[in-house]
């Protein structure tokens, strides 16, 4: 069972309490952007087999959004962090690198 610690309220929540929200750190494109950028933003997803950054909502808890780093090949959770960031925190990236030396790094 997947357990994530909500960085907003500190509760270690199991997955029935959480709602998944897909890929994190999407760069938003709107009016004026190229069709390709908008298409990519709306529909294309990273979907890696390995390290994945994603959005979650503590739906049946504090109700807030947060972000998580997880391995989709093993279900290992590397950590969670607040949603008010544009990229994963440096110490989390370093930790992932220590667990997955072959990881190519964030983007």
């Amino acid at each position: 069972m997947l357990i994530l610690e909500c960085p907003c309220c500190g509760v270690k929540a199991e997955e029935t309490e959480l709602a998944p929200g897909g890929e994190a750190h999407l760069k938003r494109y709107g009016p004026g952007s190229s069709d390709e950028d908008f298409d990519n933003y709306m529909f294309a997803r990273a979907n890696p087999k390995g390290v994945h950054f994603e959005r979650w909502r503590h739906a049946y808890g504090c109700g807030k959004w947060f972000l998580a780093a997880r391995c989709t090949a093993t279900l290992e959770v590397f950590g969670t962090y607040p949603a008010q960031t544009t990229e994963p925190p440096a110490e989390l990236q370093a930790y992932i690198k220590s667990r997955r030396p072959e990881w190519e790094g964030y983007k």
């Binding site: 997947l2 997955e15 294309a44 087999k49």
Partner: protein
């Protein structure tokens, strides 16, 4: 290859059945093929088969990282139907369903197609309206379905609880020629026929890179060395994004775990397939007597081929409400597969940004039923290098244009 027949069984019986021979060869890869298909699931094998049968393209290799049919093709609950809402879906799924009718004869391999009838229960007024609309659409599309009332449902499925406490059965969308087939046999039958045409099925051969020059594909790197090809077809279901990344492009696909389970075998008690989309569960009875049960996917990206406990519980809870008699059944086995989900819940059969590289994916939770039609259409796309009538709407570029083939609103569960 020895043809299978009643006469052959009698003849081989005289020889203690020692003379059958292998159903397919296990060759080492050659240096180059006209066409390489990645993924020996049902869709990959069917693509190769119709390339040979319909277009005479036989210098083909099918590369498989595990064993053939070991992906979703060997993990699904084998529901076959074509009662989709949108015209492009109805066309390709009905093509597939109609090919299933004669597939055993065509392949000389018993795929145990059993058009036993399929019901999609309507348990809310919203569903009643939705399914009646689907029946009208199907009639226009030439897909035979009908709307039936609760009395007829009870007649067809005596073990069902029509006036359930939460969701009484208000009727059903009924496809009399929907049903099931034996999943392994579909993969094995196509594999045997491909091998017989001289195609090489190479198992335990994982594609690790896609080689290209001047924007065109030239070959693949594999765990058994590199192999050249003129055309490449990616037919790897849950691993599509991984292969697309090797090819240098992205797709609107997310990989999720979908589970199924079977009960201990019991006496025959249900000779149709029943899907209950509101409560999220579906069930049929296998020839061995097991109740075959499935439900919804997990919500988060996953490549592990195992799913979450609460989904098993949710599915069982829903079905116990609809079929109270199964509450004491013991469950024998449970497993998961990684399904490739698109935003509109429709597949992608398409050219890609990489020249001579084609992709067939996005069948998600419901592609077993489509195997013959998908292979047929994909073979046309790859042989001609341009989409035919069955594939033109399923391009990967439909998202950019907002031309979705929206089946996600048409069915809560899409198996």
């Amino acid at each position: 290859m020895k043809r299978y027949s009643g006469f052959a069984v009698a003849r081989e019986g005289l020889n203690y059945h020692l003379g059958w021979g292998r159903a397919w060869r296990n060759p080492a890869p050659r240096k180059k093929y006209d066409v390489i298909i990645v993924g020996a699931g049902g869709h990959g094998l069917a693509t190769a088969y119709y390339l040979g049968k319909n277009y005479g393209i036989r210098n083909v290799a099918i590369l498989e990282k595990g064993w053939l049919g070991g992906g979703n093709t060997g993990r699904n609950t084998t529901i076959i139907r074509s009662n989709y809402l949108q015209d492009p879906s109805a066309a390709i799924y009905e093509k597939a369903r109609s090919l299933y009718e004669t597939l055993s004869q065509d392949l000389n391999y018993n795929v145990m197609f059993s058009p036993r009838g399929l019901l999609m229960l309507a348990q809310t007024h919203h569903e009643v309206r939705g399914y009646r609309r689907t029946v009208y659409a199907n009639n226009l599309q030439g897909v035979e379905t009908e709307w039936i009332g609760p009395d007829r449902v009870k007649q067809l499925v005596p073990i069902i609880n029509i006036d359930g406490p939460r969701y009484p059965v208000l009727g059903a969308l009924y496809q009399a020629r929907g049903g099931t087939a034996r999943h392994d046999a579909v993969a094995w039958g196509y594999a045997r026929a491909c091998s017989d045409m001289g195609m090489d099925i190479i198992q335990q051969c994982e594609v690790t890179g896609i080689r290209q020059a001047n924007g065109k594909v030239t070959g693949v790197d594999t765990t058994k060395g590199s192999i050249d090809c003129d055309k490449l077809g990616l037919v790897v279901a849950g691993h599509t994004s991984v292969l697309a990344e090797m090819g240098g492009f992205r797709l609107p696909i997310e990989s999720l775990a979908l589970q199924a389970l079977v009960s201990e075998p019991i006496k025959p008690c249900m000779d149709v397939v029943v899907m209950a989309n509101t409560v999220h569960g579906y069930m049929s009875q296998s020839d061995k007597g097991e109740m075959v049960i499935g439900g919804g996917t997990d919500g988060f990206n996953n490549y592990t081929q195992r799913g979450s406990w609460q989904h098993v519980e949710e599915t069982i809870r829903a079905l116990v409400e609809t079929f109270p008699m199964i509450s004491r059944l013991k469950m024998l086995r449970q497993w998961g597969g990684i399904v490739d989900m698109t935003g509109d819940r429709s597949p992608i059969l398409s050219k890609t940004p990489l020249g001579n590289c084609f992709v067939n994916c996005g069948w998600g939770t419901g592609g077993f039923k489509a195997i013959p039609g998908s292979g047929w259409a994909m073979a046309e796309l790859m042989a001609k290098g341009a989409p035919g009538p069955l594939t033109e709407e399923f391009s990967m570029y439909r998202f950019r244009e907002g031309k979705f083939i929206d089946e996600s609103v048409a069915a809560g569960v899409a198996h």
